[in-house]
Amino acid sequence: MSTATRSMPRTIGAHAILLTYTVIALFPVILVIMNSFKSRAGIFGAPLTPPTPKTFDLIGYTTVIGQGDFIHYFQNSLVVTVASLFFVLLFGAMAAFALSEYRFRGNSLMGLYLALGIMIPIRLGTVAILQLMVASELVNTLTALILVYTAQGLPLAVFILSEFMKQVSDDLKNAGRIDGLSEYTIFFRLVLPLVRPSMATVAVFTMIPIWNDLWFPLILAPSEETKTVTLGAQLFLGQFVTNWNAILAALSLAIMPVLILYVIFSRQLIRGITSGAVK
């Protein structure tokens, strides 16, 4: 390491910037979790103090669990997120493999077309999507959400994964071909394990917007049966009265699953980097 990057003022400066950013990023999250454990009076009386024995109250959580069908909403969110993630990763990786591995006419044009979706927000097509879902009788089903989120996640997945797939050794794939492996086996058994770190990156990028989305559940699947957590939390958000305890508790609970998924994928990220591959 060079002396310049080790110098004291630089280290302090870098840490100061990073710490400031961490505080700014974490502040709202901590505020939400902190206040979710307080009584209504506690929240409004002193919103910035942690819960004290006097203000500590689980009323928010009991409301959330007691009222509405929150376990069911959680289940819906989880089904939609995991299923969309699965399809985005599967189809994204397959398309990326085809684009990076095979020479065919229109290859780069096809790649460009698939990447176009990164630049055009899918929400612009909401009306058309709604009409499509109505026509195919998919309104108020989780399938509708899964289809939309898969389409939303694919462009970035194809873009990132095809870059990584190009780096997988040609020799390895050719060795598989000489040993008589099918193209599918080469893809699933040889290439996919080697691009696992990039799959984890894509998974994280794809998962969080899906979990947090309010737009499409509100439009495509607002029924009680298919409500997701973010939509369910709106229940407590009234025009005149808002149940802050319940909202904060619901949001705190909603952070958990996505946090767990993130931890799983980030471990994959590190493990992928350290595993031995070709050389």
Binding site: I178, L194, G276
Partner: protein, 332 residues
């Protein structure tokens, strides 16, 4: 049971013609080395033989059967790659056995063949390990073992020693030579290193810019190169080429190998100044800047003391001087 015929094979990537009509015959049991500078098409030719690339036109015939449209796994070949290309998630044993399992070979037979190959390559202690737990030389031996267990008609080696360090390269080269002697199999070996070509080959194919320049045994190529390219490519250090006009010769270029020049401090054909001297112990390479011949290399066997700046006379051996015409071909 392991002959190969290549008939007028051409390969183009878009407008770029990489192979411009290759004709080659390899007999059963031969060790053939493709050698040439990078970009000459030698690896592409090997890939066409393996079936990893389709040729644009021409036929590849293995053992009398046209395999131009046969997938790689069905051609009866095995290939060893420069980057080893071992399956990272499989143990050494499974790496070697995968091809046979795919082909539906019974398990006891696979066991038997892995046993033979691993004892031949002293890989027995490592059978349970994964590639990540092996050194570079061991990995390349596993890759060779993976080829051996398939008992192919044709072994293909794609620069297998390029990723190994110098000492290991010599050892592995020796192992490949012994393997060829034991299996008596047909082997095709691609390298850019002419030392590997000279030491291993029964027959060397020198390629340049998608064409075969010359085919012959190592000594044949060394002693009677067909043209300037082969003369310059085979032999190390490289042959000296001198403009014929400067020497008052009729030939366009005069070629003389560094080892076919003698030096004397007092008199000789070409007067020159020592630019640099490389002392290798067994021999000494002198770089001389000659008045008539330009910069030439002289290889002297044994130790020879020469300071840079000293004046020396170099004299070529007239019996071992090559004369090339304007088209680069040797003049008889």
């Amino acid at each position: 049971m392991g002959s190969l015929n290549i008939e007028n094979v051409k390969k183009a990537f878009g407008p770029v013609e990489v192979l411009k009509g290759i004709n080659l015959e390899v007999n059963d049991g031969e060790f053939v080395v493709f050698v040439g500078p990078s970009g000459c098409g030698k690896s592409t030719l090997l890939r066409v033989i393996a079936g990893l690339e389709d040729s644009t036109s021409g036929r590849v015939v293995i053992d009398g059967a046209d395999v131009s449209a046969t997938p790689p796994a069905k051609r009866g070949i095995a290939m060893v790659f420069q980057t080893y290309a071992l399956y990272p998630h499989l143990t050494v044993k499974n790496n070697m056995g995968l091809g046979l399992r795919q082909a539906g070979t019974p398990a006891p037979e696979i066991e038997r063949r892995i046993g033979i190959a691993s004892s031949m390559l002293s890989l027995e202690p490592y059978l349970g390990r994964r590639p990540a737990e092996l050194s570079g030389g061991q990995r390349q031996r596993v890759a060779i073992g993976r080829a051996v267990v398939r008992e192919p008609k044709l072994f293909l080696f794609d620069e297998p020693l390029s990723n190994l360090d110098a000492a290991l390269r010599v050892n592995t080269r020796l192992e490949i030579a012994q393997l060829h002697r034991r299996l008596k199999a047909t082997m095709i070996y691609v390298t850019h290193d002419q030392v590997e070509a000279m030491t291993l080959a029964d027959k060397i194919v020198v390629l340049n810019a998608g064409k075969i320049e010359q085919i012959g045994g190592p000594m044949e190529l060394y002693n009677s190169p067909a043209n300037e390219f082969v003369a310059g490519f085979i032999g190390s250090p490289k042959m000296n080429f001198v403009d014929g006009a400067r020497l008052g010769e009729t030939a366009k270029t005069i070629g003389v190998r560094p080892e076919h020049l003698t030096v004397d401090p007092k008199s000789g054909a070409w007067k020159g100044t020592v630019v640099h001297a490389e002392h290798l112990g067994a021999d000494t390479n002198l770089y001389l800047d000659c008045e008539k011949a330009g910069l030439i290399t002289v290889r002297i066997f044994g130790v020879y003391d020469a300071e840079p700046g000293a004046t020396l006379y170099a004299t070529p051996d007239p019996a071992k001087t090559y004369r090339f015409g304007a088209d680069g071909k040797v003049l008889k």
